[in-house]
Amino acid sequence: MRINFSCAFLFIGFVSMAQLSISGSVQDIHHNPIAGATISYPGQITYSDTDGNFNLTVSYQTNQQLSVAYLGFKTYQITIPFKDEISLKVILEPDYLNIEAVSISAKSNEIQNKKRISKDYIAENYTGSLSKSLENVAGINVMSIGSGASKPIFRGLGLNRIAVTVNGNKHESQQWGADHGLEIDALSQERIDFVKGVAAIEYGSDAIGGVLSIRNNIIPEINTFKINTTLLTRSVNNSVGIVFDLQHRENRFFQKFKASYIDYADFKTPTDSIIYLSRNIPIHKRHLKNTAGKEWNMFGQFGYVEDNYHSILTVSNNYTKAGFFPGAHGIPDLNRLTDDQNSRNIEYPYQRANHLTIQNEHKWFFTDSEFTVDGSFQNNHRQEMSEFHTHYGNQVELNTSDVELDFNLSTFGLNTKFTHYFSDKHQSNFGFQGQFQQNNISGYSFLLPEFSRNMYGAYLLHQYDFAENLRFDFGLRYDFGRVDIEEFYDQTLYNYLISNNYQEDVANNYALRSPSLSRDFNNYNFKIGTFYSVSPQLDFTLNLGSSFRNLTAIELGANGIHHGSFRHEQGNNNLDAERSYIIDFQASFIKEKYAFNLSPYFYYFSNYIFLNPTGEFSVLPHAGQLYKYSQTKALLTGFELEQSYSFNRFSTEFVLEYIYSKQTSNQMPLPFTPPLNAFVKLDYTLFQNKKYIEKSDIYISYKYFAKQDRISQNETLTPQSSVFGFGVSSELKFGNIKPKLFISAQNMFDTKYYSHTSFYRALEIPEQGRNIQIMLQIPF
């Protein structure tokens, strides 16, 4: 081991005896204290406390080193001089190539079950989109749509039951839809915190399964100028991508600029045909036709920083265009699945989406308080393009536009937060949040109505530090708001049904695709949290709370065929907001090279919204039975278990997840519940401190999904799967330049397997085949 870039400040006292008194504090590069770090000197060992402080008295030994070590960070060492009193401030640098870059450290002020995911973890685990890159993090599963898009699932809950925030603002897009992904650039984010379980107090509606709190507004250090270029290529979809990242700060002003572009072809899947609805559908050349796509991102950030104030303006834009497999919309036409000899073209049907975010944050720091105000604007414009087609033979409108669906969603948000430190034992946070949202539609098909929504929330979160190792918090939140949905009446459908001899009232019911309705809502939520640290290595967190989610326009008023799910869905204005009560517990043990984390949880939904099959057929073509949104009680429980251990040049990681769910209406599990799964990784440091190689690690990984036979109605059973991965991660050095090179293989053996939570599961399409990818990051 050698001295690295961690820094320390020595304050030197006068020489007296052979006994030295060493004290200090241990922090990470974000100035968060690190508790439980091992501070050792020959003959003495101690650990930093919850504030990161330590002290020890040693007998001086010539030229011996003091070591400060903590899992996930590069060990810091310094030769102790012969001085009476020494005070050290140690800042540990993350050990990016150590698998524990998913850091369990940084005991922050909040009592939350939180996991920090570093930018380097995402780069090393990048698999085409952000959520999929996080799928081996305990508690996270993924719903993937093709090879370039995915959405996260936290503890089995997804869509509108989770929240993704960027710099504190909820990402607002068509979250209810399962056939598109999260419009967030995976490789430009700076830090991600995964908050599990109880998070409704600060985040409001939708934060039921958890919150992915993404930040890209971390203030750079003074006098820094960094440029980073990343090149990547992936074999499973022949993608090529480039990312450019620049940040600059002199003194008070800083600027960041990022741009990326990725282009990918149809993805490969290890099968020559799929059997769907007992038809044999060919998959020519093992490429899933028309799943090619492209994505580009632009990001600009400008900030002004003073000692007691900062202001940050962020503008970012994400554009994606991706094809849909032609067999995924309704009943596949075999002649549309013939090989078009071009794996990079994007033909009909395809989707494209543009997500623009503008955000401005102001923060003031006072002696015992902080005040933050931020305003944001988001626009999510999503279109689904498909050759004009109609199911109703009489649709006479000569429509040459091929825009099938067009949703234009604009959201204005305002967040204010005031934190006051009454003493070092009491602290309170007050927050007020408001959001206005408007959805406009067009296109020749109808799915989601026009609506406007106002939501307001206020919360209070108080923290009480009873002792250094025992902390409590409690929170209350009140939300209220209103949604106005516009009517949509399909005259063409009415005419079609009348001409097919249906009764007038039947035709009317089907033609009213969404009623005009207004709905007010209000919700109360609470939270109680306890943090108890038995020792610097072992601590427990227990959170109890409630969470909720407001109803979507689809759940309130839809009436028609959702081609993404192949069902005729009917909304219900008599539903109440979804509500759950959560107990979330975490036990964490970290000692030297070993870390263990167990996180069981229990959710009781007093009101869970689901699509209930009615047993009555829809009269419409392309539709089976009617599904009506209904409510029931439900329970969801499970646990995550993680363990990591380093010895010599090896490190290992193990993650186990189990989820059990049940809804009381039909005694069946909740749909899309992931099965028991386990992830194992074994990493070996091949080279260290060689001429051109700073560090190089080689790893193998294994992911196991048990069979999922606890299925919901009209779901498909998914067999078990075993998938292997392999990789070499290296930090190289050429003079002052230290590029990072990640070479990896996913699904090493080209295994044919299915994912229970994949959007294409219903079509019996297996997961992506073998992927070999190379990512090179070049910093300057």
């Binding site: 609805l277 036409d333 649709q395 108890y532 229990f602 009615t614």
Partner: protein
């Protein structure tokens, strides 16, 4: 004291995991099976024909209902309305009926209207069992003028 509280919370959570699944009663997740005997896949018809439909249904518990869904699926070229004769329509017909028992053979005759467009059509059969499990089978057929 705090340790006892923590241990008892863990024990409480552990007891919840020991609750077994009461799958004993009616969790029927098995879909019915559908065998389309007639028409046959890619069969050709003419306008004015009587299409003979024979479908066999079976279920592990109890059948409930069926739906025949016939609709135009295009001729492989553009769906643009402009190129079609204004006197013809994309024929679309849905028939819903009841089923019973564990096995049921459906015999039906469907008249192909004189103003139906030429081209490919989908012929789909949905079946529901009493528990609400849904099955779907489909084939293609063609309509040609004389």
């Amino acid at each position: 004291m705090k340790t006892i509280k923590i241990i008892s919370s863990i024990t409480l959570l552990a007891t919840l995991f020991s609750c077994s699944d009461d799958n004993t009663t009616s969790s029927d997740t098995e879909k019915p099976t559908i065998t389309i005997v007639a028409p046959s896949d890619a069969q050709e018809f003419h306008i004015g024909d009587e299409m003979t439909v024979v479908v066999d249904f079976s279920d592990n518990r109890e059948l409930a209902s069926y739906k025949i869904d016939i609709h135009y699926s295009g001729d492989g070229h553009s769906h643009d309305r402009i190129i079609f004769d204004e006197n013809t329509v994309d024929w679309s017909q849905q028939i819903i009926g009841e089923l019973s028992g564990k096995n049921h053979r459906l015999n039906q005759t469907i008249h192909i209207p004189l103003n139906a467009n030429n081209g490919h059509y989908h012929f789909g059969i949905y079946a529901l069992d009493k528990a609400g499990n849904q099955a779907l089978e489909w084939i293609e057929f063609e309509i040609h003028n004389h």
